[in-house]
Structure formats: structure tokens, C-alpha cells
């Protein structure tokens, strides 16, 4: 059996009235018709839906869909000491936007940001829930730095904060933690810094499994060195980052992988048998039984019904791959 997982985000709303509750709730909060606590209750209903959908399809390691996150940057960074949030900036090459964190002084962790959400999600899932955090080098790269004037210095202080957050998640019971560093697909030269930052995070992970995930492109140029990064599992986007595949096929991996073979940015449906066949090309070069199949990145770029369909394809592909693994 090859296991399945997701990368992080899940579409917040769908086409049915029940699936649109969060959108209505946020609009009502904006109009002053409900208070924050009421919106949080709606968010949690949405998280239950998202977990139910992943559980019903049979995904082995799920997430809470990052439903309460405004975006991948400001949700965590905006809650650190000396960080404000500013105007909208395009998020990589997607048609989505994030509120840019502005660093005005030395950053520091104030307290847990994600632990309560993680505990709620785990209590409502039949399978383990993975905690997902944006990595410190991506956070540093996408922030507006008015204090450090050095990406490295900012990234390392952010790594300390992310590490403390990871510690709080592990203390809450998380056994799987994922750090997203999509910036490596744009600036592969940042790998040394990512590894240095991960060392700080690793010291907080205790016995949890730490995954480093890169997406929105390939990491072919640094693939061989990526294996030395201080993480237990490596996650790869093998769709937009298909250029990584030949290097991966040639060198294999000593670490288990998350193989992002399902296109999470296009609605075109893959043939599960073809995905399974592709994964099995790595047999002998990668420990497939310790690895996962996954979408290429978070699913929020797809409509909800298409995201569900992609997860069904993923599950079928994993079953087919399992027969040959």
C-alpha cells in the first residue's frame, strides 16, 4: 500500500448552500451582524466538513485545510512581535494575494497560533492530522523587511519563532509537522539557509515526523543536496516541478518522499493507472511504503468539487500503486 496525504489548503467553499456557510459568515461579520466567536463556530463547521470529505475518500494523513488562515503568510507571521500586515501582494504565480507582513523590529513568538485549531481538527478526524506551517525562509522572502535588512537574519529569527510554534503543536499532540518552503523553487540557492533554519525547528520536533515541502516549481538543481536537509520526509511538486522527476528517478532518495503527482492547479483529471505507474517507476530507488502520494500543492486553487475529484483520483492511484509496490 502506498499512503496518501494532502499538502495543506483545501477549498473553503463549494457550490451548495452548506458549503457556502463560511463565505456568508465572513460577510456577516464584516457587516457587524455576528461576532468573532460566531464566525469561529462557522469556521469549525467548515473544518469538520473538510475533514469528513478527506476521511470519506480515505486519505491517510489529512490537514484541517488551513480554513482559518487568511493567507499563507500573514496568518502566522502577523501574530509575531514587531510584525504588522500591509497591502495585498500576489502569491507566487497564482491568482491569489496575501497581506504582506511588514517587519518593524526583532521578531519573536508571542504564543501558540495553531495549536487550538490542530487539537480541534484531530478530535474530528479518524486519521492523523498533519500540522502545516509556512517555512521561515519563505516568510522572510515574502515579507517587507524594515528592520533586519538581511534575509538571513530575519529568516533565522523567524525559524526560532516557527520552532517554538512547532514545539507547542507537538505538545498538543501533533505527530506530523510539515514546513512549506516554496521559495526554494524560485531561489534554489536558499537551500543552505533553509537547512540552517530547519536545524532550529528540528530541536523542537521531539518524536514527531518533520516534512519539508517545496511546491510551485522544481528543485532539480538542488535535488541531490535537498536530501541532506534536516527533515524526515521531503515533499515534492512533480507537476509544475516536473523537471525534478528525471533527477529523482536517477538518484532516488534515502528519505521517504511525498510525491506530488496530482495536478492541484488544473482541473484536467489524471488517469489513476498512469499516476500509479509513474510512482512505481521509483520502486527500488525510493521506499514507497514509507512514502506518500499527494496533490502537487494545496488544493485551494481548485473548485471544491474538483478538489474532491482529485482526491478520489489520488486514492485510486495509491491503491493501484500499492498492488505493485
Amino acid at each position: 500500500m502506498v499512503r496518501t496525504t494532502v499538502v495543506g489548503t483545501y477549498p473553503r467553499i463549494g457550490e451548495t448552500s452548506e458549503e457556502q456557510a463560511l463565505r456568508r459568515g465572513i460577510a456577516r461579520l464584516d457587516r457587524g451582524e455576528i461576532v468573532e466567536a460566531e464566525l469561529q463556530a462557522i469556521e469549525r463547521d467548515t473544518v469538520r466538513q473538510v475533514l469528513r470529505e478527506q476521511n470519506e475518500i480515505g486519505i491517510d494523513l489529512v490537514t484541517d485545510g488551513q480554513i482559518s488562515w487568511y493567507d499563507s503568510q500573514s496568518h502566522f507571521a502577523g501574530k509575531l512581535v514587531s510584525v504588522e500586515t500591509n497591502g495585498l501582494v500576489r502569491y507566487f504565480d497564482t491568482n491569489t494575494y496575501y497581506r504582506q507582513p511588514v517587519v518593524r523590529g526583532a521578531v519573536a513568538w508571542k504564543g501558540p497560533v495553531l495549536a487550538d485549531d490542530w487539537k480541534f481538527a484531530q478530535a474530528n478526524s479518524k486519521v492523523p492530522v498533519k500540522a502545516v506551517l509556512t517555512g521561515p525562509v519563505t516568510l522572510a522572502s515574502l515579507a517587507l523587511d524594515k528592520h533586519y535588512r538581511s534575509k538571513k537574519a530575519l529568516a533565522l529569527d523567524l525559524a526560532t519563532a516557527v520552532g517554538e510554534e512547532v514545539g507547542s503543536l507537538v505538545q498538543a499532540g501533533a505527530s506530523n509537522v510539515q514546513i512549506d518552503e516554496p521559495i526554494l523553487t524560485r531561489y534554489p540557492g536558499d537551500l543552505t539557509l533553509v537547512s540552517e533554519a530547519l536545524e532550529r525547528i528540528r530541536s523542537h520536533k521531539a518524536r514527531s515526523t518533520l516534512t519539508l515541502f517545496t511546491f510551485f516549481g522544481d528543485v532539480a538543481a538542488i535535488y541531490k543536496d535537498l536530501g541532506d536537509a534536516p527533515a524526515d520526509i521531503l515533499g515534492l511538486d512533480l507537476v509544475q516541478g516536473s523537471a525534478t522527476w528525471p533527477v529523482l528517478a536517477k538518484h532516488g532518495s534515502t528519505k521517504p518522499l511525498v510525491l506530488g503527482l496530482i495536478d492541484a492547479r488544473n482541473t484536467r483529471e489524471e488517469d489513476p493507472a498512469a499516476i500509479a505507474k509513474k510512482a512505481l517507476e521509483l520502486k527500488g530507488a525510493v521506499d514507497l511504503k514509507a512514502s506518500y502520494l499527494s496533490p502537487s500543492n494545496g488544493l485551494e486553487f481548485l473548485p471544491r468539487d474538483r478538489a474532491r475529484r482529485k482526491l478520489q483520483i489520488l486514492r485510486t492511484a495509491a491503491q493501484k500503486a500499492g498492488v505493485g509496490a
Binding site: P11, L88, D93, T96, R304
Partner: protein
Amino acid sequence: MNALLTTSVGSFPKPEYLTRARTKASKGELSPDGLRTLEEKATSEWIRFQEEIGIDILVDGEQYRGDMATYFAENIDGTEISGLVRSYGNRYYKKPIIVDELRRRGPISVDWFTFAQAQTKRPVKGMITGPYTMMDWSFDEYYGSRADACFAFAKLLHDEAVALEAAGAKVVQVDEPALSTRFDELPLLVRAVGIVTKGLKAKTVLHTCYGNYNEIFDYFNKLPVDQLDLEMSNSGLDLLDRFKREPLKKEIAFGVVDVHSHVIEPESLIRERIEKALTIFSPSKLLIDPDCGLKTRSVDEARIKLRNMVAAAHAVRTAHGLT
């Protein structure tokens, strides 16, 4: 002398009666003709408002559009429309899916241009969602190549641009908010926009926003249009120094009000922004407008922002003896 002409980027907020009507129409509780009547009413109101406050080059306000890419896709053969996809915050749009060869079924925006232009003697812009943005903001289940999909859009959008010109458009704007999405694809965008604008006698404009302008700066003078329309106030006017060192060889429509903020910029602040722009650009090549379409603001916010913008532009014109 035409100096510091004022204009808008494209969209205005829909009045509440139209928002309600669109919801009803989507449930089949209002006929297409009934909806059209209200869209025309809202368009007429925005035309009258722009005339009243003295805007020089008008837009139709896009009261008939949901999303800029979706509207065009709905009127092009070879597409389907997906479920809702998030853009940011609580904003979602229905993303087009290319499922077959793209073909222009007929006029896409020409009827609305004609309707709006018939109500004013001032020029109304013809508005086209650009080929690169149409490609980048669509799922592709047919072409399998971003370049092929982009050129397919470009060819049919050229026909739309020609039709707008034939209908009387003196200005044709190509909206390319996705311009800065992938820097390695800028040559593709330049070629595709060139296909759209080829042979047009109308003034051509390219609007873009919310990108890393420093990364795309070298391409500004290569874009095959007469005028660039840029969001400037949201990015803190950071780009002015660069324009000073590397002059723009085109007209610029300079965004002076933030369309994503509830804060109403006072006239004095907008005047300062225009004065800063005037230190770099000649007044005959400098147009004043909001950063982007105002559809995310309330009707009242949009109106006040536009009023302040026009008042500031007029005040600067007077102060510089440009009237």
C-alpha cells in the same frame, strides 16, 4: 492642451438593487431581459456620475460582469465555467475552463461599449481582458500549452478590439493584471498583446496591477500599446525613482487612490501624489486614475474616491496653469 486627463480603470461597484437582481437571476427568479434592464440602469447612472464630476475619459463600469475573465469566457466558444475559486480574503470567482478550441462566437463587449458611448459625448474606453490574463486565469483541459492557449485567446481578442474600434472606440484598453505572474513569460505576453493591438488606430492602453514592477520594468517600453495604466498608490509610489532614471516612452495613467482600502484619501494627499508624478512625467502624457477597478468598494466609497481624485487633478491643473 490635454493635461492631467482623468479616467478610471474599468469596474465600479454594483448598486444594491443590481446585486440583488444578479442573485435572483442566478436562481432563475429574474429573466435575462429583466437583469439587462437593471444593468443598463446602473451603467447609465455611472456614466452620469462620471460626467457630473468631470472625468475626461469614461468607462462603462462593468455592471454586467461578474469577473473580468469569466465574463469574457462565458462569451467565447470552447470554454466552460468552473465552481468558485478564492482570490483573496472572502472574494471568489468562477474560473473558466478551456475544454475545446477557442472561438469568438460574436461580439463580447461591443454592445455594452455602444450602449455606454451613446449616452455621453466624452470618450468611453473599450475594455478587453487580455490574452495572457485569460490564459493564466483559466484551467486548461484542451491545449496543454500555455503559449498555445494564450495565442488562441489573442487571435479572437484582436477581432474584438477591431470590432470595438469599428463601433467608435477611440481608446481600447487591454487588462493584463496577470502580467507579472511569471517573469519568464513576459516575452509571451508582449507577443500576445501585440496580436491584439496590431493595426488598431485607437489609442491602446495596457492596465496592470499588484505585481513586482521592478522585476518587469524592463518590459514597460516593450509593451505594444500607447499608454500604461499602473497601480501606483498601493505600492507606495516606490517606482518613481526608477522612472526618473529610465524614462517611460509612453503615456502613463497613474493610480492615485487605493482601491482595496476603505480609507478615503483626502484631496490634499491625492494632490501630493499627482505633484510627485509631475516631477517625472510630462502633464500631457500623465493621466490620473484609481489604482485599479473600484468594484470592491461600496458605491459611496467609490464615488467619494473618484470625486476627490478629480478635484485633486483639477486643483493641480489650476496650480500649474494647465487649464
